[in-house]
């Protein structure tokens, strides 16, 4: 939201000038937050209030500011953000401003512009009157990069629009929470996100498959609840192995026993897809007849499979250049409203790193450390559910289906 800082000085308490200004801001549809408040010690001392005024639009903000200026609240002169050229490709200038994932504006030529898109741990590049968060490896020599902290406004996390969802989950991550309620809330959040016309991202780990939720998740994709999938070689390969052989890492998903020569299934599956050329082609040829990846292909749900150093194969669809994989993930971010991070530490953190704070994050893992790690790395909006991810996803899928009928 656009905002400006105003200063109200003088005998603003006894004269009720301060409440008048604050009430006026609210009456005009604005919001305020104190940045500084100094109360005069003696009767003749002045008091000083520095107030940040916010409104939904720039125009509304200007109206509020014009109104309260008549009541004595002056705009505080602020400085433009300082811009310095990037010295070489992939290198920011010294003292470059490091972004957060929170909504950020910078002041250029006296005007505030929103940094769009915003991503944490990036620099801010200003080009053609637009500001965007740019990852270090993408900065080009000569690009104008914001340095220092002047002329930058980061909207505090607490001021973000209350979504009304997950309110009860806002306490620290814990396994001591009623699961049925959380399943219902997760289903409701997915439904609300879709209703708002926004996309739901699933970031999944292989445990989804080998713990038995593969079919449930495939069903969610089939029913249109998932719009994007981020995963690694493992989830896709487990899913394909289970489709081709009924096993995950050689263990029968139905019987829970190691299948004869089961350990070979994994490699045979990846070899088969490599032979065919791609997952989509395997679906087209009728080789891949069920599972998460098949539903993605049929439903046209984009997936980004990011490789890692311990991958088997990998599948031909896996992007093994990590920077390239990051960019492929970034390309899917516009329009995202919710990220479900299920049973994967690596991909959850990688996704958390590039998500703006405005995207809701629900992280489901048996290990509470995953959510803690996400938050520690700056994805403060993550809400954690510590439980068996597969069971949770099965129940969420069931809940969504049940409500659909």
């Amino acid at each position: 939201m656009p905002s400006e800082v105003v200063e109200l000085k003088g005998h603003i308490i006894d004269s009720l000038s301060l409440p008048r200004v604050l009430d006026s801001i609210l009456a005009q549809g604005g919001q305020f937050e104190f940045e500084e408040f100094t109360v005069g010690k003696t009767r003749s001392d002045h008091s000083l209030a520095r107030i940040r005024v916010e409104a939904a639009t720039r125009e509304q903000l200007e109206n509020v500011l014009a109104y309260i200026e008549q009541e004595g609240a002056n705009r505080v002169d602020q400085q433009d953000a300082v811009l310095v050229s990037a010295p070489k490709e992939g290198v920011f200038p010294e003292h470059f401003y490091c972004t957060t994932n929170l909504p950020t504006s910078i002041r250029v030529n006296g005007k505030w512009i929103q940094v769009e898109p915003i991503e944490m741990d990036c620099g801010i590049v200003v080009e053609n009157g637009r500001a965007s968060a740019v990852a270090m490896n993408h900065v080009l020599p000569g690009q104008q990069v914001v340095v220092g902290h002047e002329g930058i406004y980061v909207e505090p996390a607490s001021r973000r629009e209350a979504h009304g969802t997950f309110e009860f989950m806002n306490s620290a991550v814990s396994s001591e929470k009623p699961k049925a309620l959380m399943v219902a809330e997760a289903a409701r959040l997915i439904r609300e996100t879709k209703k708002l016309g926004k996309k739901v991202l699933l970031v999944g780990g292989p445990a989804i498959v080998h713990a038995g939720a593969g079919e449930a998740v495939a069903g969610m994709i089939r029913d249109g609840w998932i719009d994007v999938l981020f995963a690694g070689n493992a989830l896709a390969l487990h899913d394909i192995e289970s489709a081709l052989y009924g096993t995950a890492l050689g263990v029968s998903i139905e019987k829970g026993k190691l299948a004869p020569h089961g350990h070979e299934h994994h490699l045979r599956a990846v070899n088969e897809i490599r032979r065919i050329g791609s997952i989509a082609e395997a679906v087209r040829q009728g080789v891949l007849t069920k599972g998460i990846m098949r539903e993605c292909v049929l439903k046209g749900v984009p997936y980004v499979l990011a490789g890692s150093i311990r991958d088997d194969g990998p599948l031909p669809d896996v992007i093994s250049d990590t920077l390239e994989a990051q960019d492929a993930m970034r390309a899917q971010l516009p329009g995202l409203g919710l990220a479900l991070m299920v049973a994967t530490t690596l991909h959850s953190i990688a996704t958390g790193n590039i998500l703006p704070a405005s995207v809701h994050v629900l992280c489901v893992d048996i290990n509470s450390a995953v959510v803690t790690k996400l938050s520690d790395r700056g994805t403060h909006q993550a809400v954690g559910v510590v439980t068996d991810a597969a069971l949770f996803m099965q129940e969420v899928a069931g809940k969504l289906r049940e409500e659909q009928v």
Partner: protein, 264 residues
């Protein structure tokens, strides 16, 4: 000793319209105006321990007669007004020179915010009040408070007929009389709190500029007003001295506007 600065209405007229009272179609009867002004002058001069200083009128500055708007006077300090309307801006030089010639320290408002002097900044009981919105800006009042080293409580005016604070609030001893509807709810709450036993003025009395009165000792010098208000003042030990000032009401001013208190 109470001392006032006044300026004879030699060139007084309504030649422009800068407030709801002014109407060029209702011109001033200059002879009557002079007579009314003289009566005010003589009356004030006759009050105990009261002196009047006069300044030279100036052709082309008809409102110079309203000396209350010259600036803010505090002890030997003079803060010249920053007039809103170009029609009155020429007055500043004359007023400032008058105070300069008499050895006053002149301090100007730095930031160019409007302030129309004692018309808006006045002391009641032990507190300074500053009216704002029509002619003065709250930012200027903060600056005035810095210059005089005293608390100045901004008072928000909401009725353009009572565009200066001295048209709707008049200090009377330890209390005040005021027209409540001239202020917004916040300022009214402040005034009620500061003057719990204030004298409320009716709309009609306010239109007669009853609040624009000069109070010296136990005398309240004002334009013709109601019996009720005089009785109310009498019950508090004050004597009403009514002087018809109809010709000055045509320009939106009365007894207090025609005087500037320069010494207590």
């Amino acid at each position: 000793m109470t001392k006032f600065l006044m300026c004879p209405p030699t060139y007084y007229e309504v030649s422009y319209e800068i407030n709801p009272w002014m109407d060029r179609d209702h011109p001033v009867d200059i002879e009557l105006a002079k007579e009314q002004w003289n009566r005010l002058y003589e009356t004030l001069k006759s009050l105990p321990n009261t002196e009047i200083e006069l300044m030279e009128p100036e052709k082309g500055l008809p409102d110079l007669v309203f000396t209350a708007n010259a600036g803010v006077v505090h002890s030997r300090l003079f803060i010249p007004s920053v007039f809103k309307h170009p029609e009155r801006q020429g007055e500043s030089a004359y007023f400032t020179k008058w105070f300069e010639d008499r050895g006053y320290q002149i301090k100007r408002l730095r930031d160019g915010y409007l302030c129309e002097g004692a018309g808006d900044v006045l002391k009641a009981k032990d507190t300074w009040f500053g009216g704002y919105f029509y002619r003065s800006a709250p930012q200027a009042l903060t600056e005035v408070s810095e210059l005089i080293g005293s608390e100045v409580l901004p008072i928000r005016l909401v009725d353009d007929r009572f565009y200066h604070l001295d048209t709707c609030l008049c200090p009377v001893g330890d209390t005040a009389m005021y027209y409540p509807r001239a202020f917004d709810e916040y300022s009214l709450a402040v005034l009620r709190n500061r003057f719990p036993d204030a004298i409320g003025v009716t709309e009609e009395e306010a239109r007669d500029f009853s609040c624009n009165a000069v109070v010296v000792d136990k005398y309240v010098v004002m334009n013709n007003t109601s019996k009720r208000l005089c009785a109310e003042l009498a019950s508090r030990g004050y004597e009403c001295i009514e002087i018809p000032l109809s010709e000055f009401l045509k320009a939106g001013g009365s007894a207090r506007c025609l005087t500037l208190r320069i010494e207590e």
